[in-house]
Amino acid sequence: MGRRVLITGLGTFWGSRVAQALEADPGVDVIVGLDRKEPTVPLERTEYVRSDESYSILARIVKAARIDTIVHTFLVVDSTQMKSRTIHEINVIGTMNLFAAASAPGSTVRNVVVKSSTLVYGAHPKDPVWFSEEARRAQAPKAMVERSLLEVEGYVRDFAVDNPHVNVALLRFSNVLGPDITTPLAKALELPVVPSVFGYDPRFQFVHEADVVRAILFVLAGRVQGIYNVAGDGLLPWSEVAAICGKRTFPLPPFGMGLLSAPLASLGIVDLPPELLDLLRHGRGVDNRRLKKVGFEYHYTSAGTVADFVEALRIRPIVGASETAYQYERDVEQFFRHSPAVIRDSD
C-alpha cells in the first residue's frame, strides 16, 4: 500500500510545490491538501479540501482518509503578510489542532514533517556564528512570529515524545530566496537601493527554494526523524549580498528603527518587521551539517542562491514570472478527479 499524505497549507508556495512533486511519486497513493485558500498551481490528483485549522475537521480528515504522513507546511514565517492574531491562529492553534488530530486514538499517522524556520534562534550579538540544532537562543523572543514558531516547536516536541512510534522531522529553514518565492528579504533586495542598518554588515545565510522543497521530500522519502537546520553553505555580508544583486546599500539609522519601520511600511517603501531588523544588525548562521550527514545534498550555496535569485530577477521583466497564472475551478477539478467520463491511467 502506498503512502497517504496530508499536506497543510496547499495554497502556500511550499504546500503546492511539495504536492506537485508527490503527485509524480507512484509510491504515494493519496494526497490530501488543506488550506483556506484555493491552490494556485495546477495539480493532477491532489484532493483539495477547503478548511480552517479547527480540530474537528482535521481529526475527521485524518481518520477518514487513513492519513499516514503529514506534511505541515502551513506555518507563517513572514510577519509582513498578515496580522499577528492571524499568525497566531494559523501557527499555534493550527499546529495544536493538527497534532491533537494526529494523536487521536487509533490514529494511522506514522510520519510527520514540519517546516519551521531558523527564526527560532533569533539574532543577537551574543549568538555563536553557527547555531547547532541544540543551541539555545540568547534572549527570549520579542518578535511575535518568533514566539509563535517556538510555541509550534513545543507542540511538535510534545507530540514526538507522546508518540514515539511516529517519525517526526522538524526542519528549520534559513532565509529562503529563489526565482519564484516572495519573502521580506527578497522584497528588500528588489528595491532600487537595499536597506541596511548603518554601521552593521552582518553575515547572512540563504537557502534556495528548490533546496527547501528537496529537503522536505528528502526527509519524507527517507523517513528521517529529528531536528535539522536547512541552509546553504557559507555566510556572506549583507553588503556583498547587495553587491551580487548589483545594488548599493542604503543605511538606515542604527537607533530608533523601531519607530521608523512603521511609517516606512505604511508608505509601502519597505516593511522591516522587528525580526528582520535584528537580522540586519546581527545576522545569523546555522550549522547545516546534520542534514548533510544523513545524506542530503544541497544544490546551492548561500552565494549561489543569491546569484540564482538575481538571475531570475534580471529576466523577470523579459519573460514574466515563471509561475503561469492558474485559476482553481472547483467543478472542473472535481470532474477530472471523479467523473466516470474521464479515462484515467490506472496501473
Binding site: 527570549a140 552593521y200 527517507g222 523517513r223 528521517v224 526523524q225 553553505d233 550555496t301 552565494a303
Partner: protein, 320 residues
C-alpha cells in the same frame, strides 16, 4: 522559551527505503537500491526540481570576508596602518616566538591592560607578520553590539568569545585564537593596579582548549599598561552608558579627549611561554571543575611570574 533539543536528538540515517522500487513500472522516479554514498547519486525518491547534482556547487562570492567576518584584505590594510605604530612607536619585541605553533590550533592566552588595550593588536600583528598565520581575537559581545566598531572589529579578525565559535576555530579549522581571560576586568584596572592580574574568568578558556584538544600558549605582555594608563573611572557614568568602564586616561589629559585615543609610545615586550598541553581526551561534554580551576590558576601564575620577571629586567618604560 528556549529551543531545547528535540525528542530525538540523534537521527538515525535511514536511507532510501526501496518501497517504490518493485511496483514502479513506467516511472520517472529513479530509486537507488543501495543507500547512496557520495555525491553522484541523488537520494530523493521523488522527482524534485533539478534532481541532477551539479559536480561542483557554484559559489559566486564577491568579497573575501570569511565565515567569522574576517577579511584578509581589510586585515592587510590594518597591518599597513598599524605597522609603523608597531615598529617605531611601541618597538615591539618578541621573546620565545617559536613557542607559537606554526601549524594546528592553539589558544593564545595573554594579560590584558590599558584603557584601550595595545596588547591585542600587537600580538595579532606580530604573529601574522612573523609567522604568516591569521589570529582570531576572541572578545566580549560588547564589540559586536556597537555600530561601525563591531563591523571593523569583525573584519580585522575579532570573533565573539562563544564556546561553539572557539571549538570550531580551534578543533575543526585548526586556527590560532587569542583570548584575554581577564576580560574587561584587566583593561578596567587603574594605574595603581598595573600588572596585577585579575581573576581568569571562570576558567572557560581551559575547558575550551581541553575540548578542542589544543595547547594553551601563555603570553605575557609588558608595556600596554603604560601605553594608556587609566587614572580614574566613573562606574556611575559607565553604567548609564551601558559600557564596562568609562576611563579618564593620562592620554586624554595630555592630548585631549580625541587625540587621547593614541597610546603613549611605551616599549612593548611580549614573552611567549611554553605551551601547556592537556592530558585529557578532547570532545568531552564536561571536564573536572577542579582540574579546570587548577590549570587556569597555574597558567595565571605563570603569566604573573613572567610579568614580574620582565618588569625586574626593564630599565625604562619607554626604552625597555
Amino acid at each position: 522559551m528556549a529551543t531545547a533539543p528535540g525528542p530525538r536528538p540523534k537521527p538515525k540515517p535511514k536511507k532510501a527505503p526501496a518501497t517504490a522500487a518493485g511496483r514502479a513500472t513506467k516511472t520517472r522516479v529513479r530509486v537507488p537500491k543501495v543507500a547512496p554514498v557520495g555525491r553522484s547519486t541523488s537520494v530523493a525518491l521523488v522527482p524534485v526540481p533539478k534532481s541532477e547534482t551539479p559536480p561542483d556547487l557554484a559559489d559566486p562570492r564577491r568579497s573575501d570576508v570569511d565565515e567569522w567576518g574576517r577579511s584578509e584584505h581589510t586585515r592587510e590594510i590594518a597591518r599597513q596602518v598599524y605597522g609603523p605604530l608597531y615598529r617605531t612607536w611601541h618597538r615591539v619585541e618578541w621573546e620565545g616566538l617559536d613557542n607559537i605553533p606554526t601549524e594546528g590550533g592553539a589558544l593564545l592566552v595573554s594579560n590584558h591592560a590599558g584603557a584601550i588595550p595595545s596588547d591585542a593588536p600587537a600580538i595579532m600583528h606580530g604573529i601574522e607578520t612573523e609567522l604568516g598565520r591569521p589570529v582570531y581575537g576572541l572578545a566580549d559581545e560588547m564589540f559586536k553590539r556597537m555600530p561601525v566598531v563591531g563591523t571593523m572589529w569583525s573584519r580585522v579578525g575579532g570573533v565573539l568569545a562563544h564556546p561553539d565559535n572557539a571549538y570550531r576555530l580551534l578543533r575543526e579549522q585548526e586556527q590560532l585564537a587569542l583570548v584575554f581571560p581577564e576580560g574587561t576586568k584587566g583593561t578596567g584596572k587603574t594605574y595603581g593596579e598595573r600588572y596585577q592580574l585579575r581573576r581568569f574568568g571562570r576558567g572557560g578558556f581551559v575547558q575550551i582548549a581541553m575540548r578542542a584538544g589544543v595547547p594553551v600558549v601563555p603570553i605575557a605582555v609588558v608595556g600596554s599598561e603604560e601605553a594608556m594608563p587609566m587614572l580614574w573611572k566613573s562606574p556611575q557614568l559607565a553604567k548609564l552608558l551601558g559600557i564596562p568602564y568609562l576611563p579618564i586616561t593620562a592620554n586624554m589629559l595630555a592630548l585631549g579627549p580625541l587625540a587621547g585615543m593614541l597610546p603613549f609610545p611605551a616599549k612593548i615586550k611580549i614573552r611567549v611561554l611554553d605551551p601547556v598541553r592537556f592530558d585529557v581526551e578532547p570532545d568531552q561534554p564536561r571536564y573536572s571543575r577542579s582540574l579546570i580551576m587548577d590549570t587556569s590558576e597555574r597558567i595565571r601564575q605563570q603569566i604573573q611570574e613572567a610579568l614580574y620577571d620582565m618588569l625586574r629586567q626593564r630599565e625604562s618604560v619607554w626604552f625597555g
